[in-house]
């Protein structure tokens, strides 16, 4: 995947009110399945879940905190964002506009993170997070 194409990819952000939640998920002693991973991993997961459950929510004005640089995202992750934008916009042109890609991805991640919060609150991710994630996944693979 061409690196010159990636030039100008902006920082990715989320709602500053979710900052603590993101941190709590990735801490090394967190019980969550994301422990030891990065916030970018959480973001992409939330974005994907948000799209699946049709939860596109803009970040409230003044709350966006762009604190994940493009380097935090592997190229595969950035292309997942673009695939989502292609589907949403129904054309290829959108992928050139990096800011648009990030903006749409952020909105789905913002919706998806609220679902992840529900999982945590309900204790679904407490006892056996792998089992919970695997069950959800296998339903889609079936």
């Amino acid at each position: 995947m061409s690196s010159s194409f990636e030039f100008g990819f902006p920082d990715v952000g989320f709602d500053k009110d979710d900052q603590e939640f993101y941190e709590s998920l990735v801490k090394s002693d967190s019980p969550s399945p994301f422990r030891g991973m990065t916030r970018a991993d959480v973001f992409i997961y939330a974005m994907a879940v948000g799209f699946k459950e049709n939860l596109r929510r803009p970040i409230p004005k003044g709350n966006r905190t762009p604190n994940m640089p493009p380097e935090a995202f592997k190229p595969e992750m950035r292309w997942l964002m673009r695939a989502l934008v292609i589907m949403v916009e129904k054309n290829l042109e959108g992928i050139i506009e990096h800011r648009k890609v990030v903006s749409i991805a952020e909105e789905y991640a913002n919706g998806g993170i609220s679902l992840v919060k529900e999982y945590v609150k309900s204790g679904s991710l407490d006892e056996d997070p792998e089992a919970f994630l695997e069950t959800n996944l296998r339903k889609l693979l079936a």
Partner: protein, 733 residues
């Protein structure tokens, strides 16, 4: 050869100190043969030689054994012989130095004796009444007064006086003395007592000023918050919540007094006459319970060692199997389980977004494909192709392209292609998207493999646990009552440890809850304070104070962290230089909680299963690391280093110890069993191995024998008879 600034003990004079009646002097070896040995049986004064160093420098005796506690510090025969209404003197003189400089440190106690008070105990025996004084325990009727002096000399002939406290602290600060004056118990427990490790690292970090400033700022913050009380009920509520949470976390009441649970005695192996209770809550309770768990685990190790030493072959075999299961098989399986879960989780987190966005991937593949078919992609080709046409002025169908609408159309097509160049990246993406979709079944298969492997590992773990239970049942049912009893005690300890572990987990959760309550209350308090115009200035002061506290805490944490990792690296370096099983262990770590651990090559924590010799080397490695960093080149005085080491590990320690800190003088206070007795090989008890003495003989400068004459109330120090030619053995590493 010694570095110029390494200090050695030249001599120690003990005059009327404890067992040492009259004048007693030990002249130590200081040059190339740097080992000095003082051999004596228990109770003859070895530990008091260690105490003498400490008393001379710091006026305390931290290594007092039970038989010396409650005894006068001055020799009892001297006290008895002295006439009433006369002076008696006790002194300790320590001479240290190197080729460049010498120090003479003296501590003298001059006591005025009147009539010694005596009482009659219940059995009708006379008992001397004793009193605690700043100079130690003295009989009532003897009033001590002390003096000290610190002298420096370049030649050893003329001496200059220096300020005592300053001189001693420049030579070896009291806080670091536990790492230079060592006893066997301290060495034995070092890897278990994270407090000691933490203290060592904090001391060498030289953060006294920072700790002091943090303490002061905390106190100031408390005062400032008190000033906000009474102005607003909501603020008061939040302050109360913060205070209550903090008090719970520190297990104290509103007045700052520590709170304990008087229904919960701390378990002690040997009752020392003091009842101690677990703190009621928070961090102190957590620490207390963790310490208790460590103590039980250590006792469990002792029982295991006792069982494996039993003569009955079957018992030995069962215990061996158990140790193999507990120390190797189960840790390896648990490691495997952890690794598999981690890998499976990583796969799930990576895989899940692709599954959820499957429709997007498929749609993108199709759309990119359409664009290729329509010639819109790759635009690079369109650009080249249209340029060629324009250059030729003719289309491949023969249309004239030199001017007019046809040419315009081609130019427009070229412009569009140029704009779309960036879309050419989508071609590569299409390839990748297709691969990802193809991989779905692979990744799904990998998930199945992980699931199967995890099930198998769980099954193997269950099997191992079942085998452990069987072994325990067999041992409990043994005909040998000792063994059956040991096994019952072991089972009880294990249960105790499990209960403690559960309780510790629960305390940790509650601590987290209270920290969250405190945090939420503070956030609300800050918000209310900011909104209150009357308290604006107070709010500003508090913010300044909190910011300063945060900065200092950050500095402290960073320095401690740096120091911890440095000590960790050095400890590891020394350990792997000393340890004979170089391939068995792969790492030494000091974690964030200052717990030292040694990692086995199979990936598990082997610390609790180190042999006594290996534990000693680990402790000595840590000491060497601390010593390296502090830069205080003081000799090491070690009391009973080999007390719990026997057999082949003792032989291995003997071979390795000469390489330990090759420039440092070592004074070892040992028993005959530790030092001069032949080493018994546990595997072949009739085949006696050379003694520790014989193995290190070529490194030993001087050997002394300590003899206590109970009748004379006097310990004498004489030179040991050297080994004969035939007794000296050369051991090549």
């Amino acid at each position: 050869m010694k570095e110029p600034n390494e200090l050695a003990v030249i001599s120690l004079e003990l005059n009327n100190y404890r067992q040492f009646y009259g004048e007693n002097k030990i002249d130590f070896a200081t040059k190339e043969k740097r080992f000095n040995i003082i051999q004596g049986e228990n109770g003859e004064g070895k530990s008091n030689i260690l105490n003498a160093f400490h008393y001379c420098l710091y006026l305390t005796e931290p290594h007092l054994k039970s038989d010396s506690q409650g005894m006068p510090i001055m020799n009892t025969r001297t006290l008895k012989e002295a006439k009433e209404n006369s002076f008696v003197e006790m002194s300790i003189v320590l001479t240290l130095g190197n080729d460049d400089i010498k120090y003479k440190i003296s501590r003298m106690v001059r006591a005025y004796k009147t009539k010694i008070q005596e009482t009659i105990d219940a059995k009708g025996n006379k008992k001397i009444e004793l009193q605690n004084t700043p100079f130690g325990v003295f009989p009532v009727g003897v009033t001590p007064n002390g003096s000290e002096s610190f002298k420096v000399s370049k030649t050893g002939k003329t001496w200059d006086d220096r300020y005592f406290s300053y001189g001693v602290s420049m030579m070896l600060p009291k806080e670091l003395s536990p790492f230079y004056f060592l006893d066997g118990e301290f060495l034995e427990s070092l890897h278990k007592t994270f407090d000691t490790v933490k203290t060592g690292i904090e001391q060498i970090s030289e953060l006294t000023l920072v700790f002091s400033a943090i303490k002061h700022l905390n106190s100031l913050l408390t005062t400032l918050r008190k000033q906000a009380k009474g102005s607003d009920t909501n603020i008061d509520d939040q302050l109360k919540r913060m205070e209550a949470a903090d008090n719970w976390l520190q297990s104290r009441d509103n007045e700052g007094n520590s709170l304990v649970n008087e229904n919960e005695l701390i378990f002690k192996e040997k009752y020392d006459g003091k009842d101690e209770y677990h703190p009621r809550s928070g961090y102190p309770r957590l620490k207390s319970k963790e310490n208790e768990r460590i103590m039980h685990k250590a006792k469990l190790d002792e029982i295991d060692n006792q069982l494996i030493k039993k003569n009955a072959a079957l018992i030995k075999e069962l215990q061996k199997q158990r140790m193999e299961l507990e120390n190797k098989t189960i840790p390896e399986l648990e490691n495997t389980k952890l690794r598999l879960r981690k890998e499976k989780l990583k796969l799930l987190i990576d895989f899940a977004p692709r599954v959820y966005l499957k429709n997007c991937l498929e749609y993108s593949i199709n759309l990119i494909g359409e664009n290729i078919e329509k010639g819109r992609l790759p635009s690079k080709i369109t650009d080249i192709f249209t340029q060629e046409l324009l250059d030729k002025n003719e289309c491949i169908c023969g249309t004239d392209l030199s001017k007019g609408q046809s040419r315009e159309r081609i130019i427009q097509m070229q412009k569009t292609a140029k704009l779309s160049k960036q879309l050419d990246s989508a071609l590569e993406a299409q390839y990748d998207f297709k691969n990802w979709l193809k991989q779905f079944s692979n990744d799904s298969g990998r998930l199945d493999t992980y699931r199967r492997d995890l099930i198998k590992t769980e099954k193997d773990l269950g099997e191992s646990q079942r085998k452990l239970k069987d072994i325990s049942i067999k041992l409990k049912g043994s005909d040998d009552e000792d063994i059956a009893q040991l096994e019952k005690i072991r089972e009880a300890r294990e249960k105790w440890i499990d209960e403690l572990s559960e309780e510790i987990g629960s305390i940790r959760k509650r601590i987290e809850e209270y920290e969250n309550i405190k945090k939420a209350a503070k956030a609300e308090y800050d918000r209310l304070l900011k909104a209150n115009k009357k308290l604006e200035q107070l709010g500003v002061k508090q913010i300044l104070c909190e910011n300063a506290l945060q900065s200092l805490t950050s500095v402290k944490d960073r320095v401690l962290e740096k120091m911890r990792t440095t000590v960790e690296e050095k400890t590891k370096h020394y350990f792997f230089n000393l340890i004979w099983k170089k391939d068995t262990y792969t790492d030494v770590q000091i974690n964030d909680n200052y717990v030292i651990s040694v990692k086995h090559k199979h990936g598990y924590d082997a610390t609790n299963n180190l042999s006594a010799g290996e534990k000693l080397l680990l402790a000595l490695s840590f000491i060497a690391a601390i010593r390296d960093i502090t830069g205080f080149k003081f000799p090491l005085i070690v009391d009973t280093p080999l007390g719990k080491i026997s057999g082949l590990p003792k032989m291995s320690v003997a071979k390795e110890i000469p390489t330990y800190l090759p420039e440092t003088q070592l004074v070892l206070l040992v028993t005959d069993t530790e030092y001069a007795s032949p080493i018994v090989n546990g595997e072949e008890p009739t085949n006696l191995l050379p003694s520790f003495r014989e193995i290190i003989n070529s490194y030993v400068g001087k050997e002394f024998l300590l003899n206590y004459n109970e009748k004379e109330v006097h310990a004498t120090i004489t030179k040991m008879k050297p080994l004969s030619e035939s007794e000296v053995l050369q051991h090549v590493k």
